[in-house]
């Protein structure tokens, strides 16, 4: 299909979005990522029955935790698509990138940079 999607997105592969833990999402923001999103299978179509539903719960939980901390919860999002939907994947990547650009950079970025220099 040779579809384009924004090059700022780094993909981390997991066997199922059910594997994604609260700390994976929170840790990404803590380390300076501007946003994180989970792309899971369509709801109701999980091979492990509820992996993507658990991921959604965790994403919503992390959103709340970030709001408590003082960071926009919407930097973390959940998307669903089926594995055959390449164009939708690219569209979501674009949508997330534009959304995060509107929010601006992660306020913790300077701390993450300082740590990298160490």
């Amino acid at each position: 299909m040779r579809l384009d999607y924004p090059s700022n997105i780094k993909i981390i592969r997991v066997p199922c979005t059910g594997k994604v833990d609260v700390m994976h999402l929170l840790g990404a923001i803590q380390k300076g990522a501007d946003g994180v999103y989970c792309v899971g299978c369509m709801e109701g179509a999980c091979h492990y029955n509820a992996g993507n539903l658990r991921a959604r719960e965790r994403v919503m939980h992390v959103q709340k935790l970030l709001e408590e901390v003082g960071i926009e919860g919407d930097r973390v999002r959940m998307y669903n698509l089926s594995s055959g939907e390449g164009p939708t994947f690219a569209a979501y990547a674009k949508e997330m990138t534009e959304h995060i650009k509107k929010l601006g950079p992660n306020p913790l970025k300077k701390w993450a940079r300082a740590k990298n220099k160490e």
Binding site: L26, Q30, L65, E68, V69, L108
Partner: protein
């Protein structure tokens, strides 16, 4: 199992105000099972505190360790070599664990990160319900295995009271009457004579800290 819930984040943040290096001590027993104070929850809270304090331009260095049980001195020993590095200790254990930690390190401020809530059961992952008030005089043998102290709004040893209303409690239609449930269960077991036995009032031993020494053991010098 002892069930607790995490304190509101703002409250924890306020407790830690003024400290720049804090050791967060989790507990690997009850509070780990009820998903509030185990290794994972320590990591999440530390990440939150780290981010919040950085946003305030006042970073805090958070250490993390989870011991098997904070209510057992032998598991606290491992902390001896670490605590001196820290200005304060944050504990995610139940109230008993927090106090034992404070007892072992009396010179360090020990701060609670959870509110200990009740002795309860695990209905399913993440869903816990109270079942015992540790009253020290168990009557479950007479009440068909339903605790009237915990499940009855008045905690009556001898019931039901006049407020029982077709299976519900007078405080709320959705709150079952514990004594109605006790009656139904005893009836099904053909043990209704049990409900006629009068249980004397509790001596309310729970108003002073209680001590239990099991048969074959004795009070020893504290280590």
């Amino acid at each position: 199992m002892i069930v607790a819930k995490r304190k509101p984040f703002e409250e924890i943040k306020n407790l830690l105000k003024g400290y720049r290096k804090v050791l967060n001590v989790g507990c690997g027993t009850c509070v780990a099972v009820c998903l509030v104070g185990g290794e994972k929850e320590v990591a999440v809270l530390n990440a939150e505190l780290d981010m919040a304090r950085k946003l305030e331009e006042n970073p805090v260095e958070m250490g993390a360790i989870t011991v098997e049980r904070q209510c057992d001195m032998e598991y606290l020993e491992i902390l001896d070599s670490m605590v001196d590095e820290y200005e304060a200790l944050l504990s995610m254990a139940c109230g008993a664990g927090i106090q034992f930690l404070a007892e072992r390190y009396p010179a360090k401020p020990v701060l609670p990160a959870v509110d200990t809530t009740f002795l309860g059961v695990n209905q399913t992952v993440g869903w816990y319900e109270e079942r015992c008030r540790s009253c020290s005089s168990c009557v479950l043998g007479l009440t068909g295995g339903i605790c009237p102290v915990t499940m009855c709004a008045k905690g009556l040893y001898n019931g039901p009271c006049g407020g029982t209303n077709k299976g519900s409690c007078e405080i709320d239609k959705n709150q079952p009457c514990a004594w109605y449930q006790i009656y139904e269960r005893l009836k099904a077991q053909n043990r209704l004579d049990c409900i006629l036995e009068i249980t004397p009032p509790s001596e309310w031993q729970n108003q002073i800290p209680r001590t239990v020494i099991q048969p074959g053991y004795k009070k020893q010098e504290k280590k």
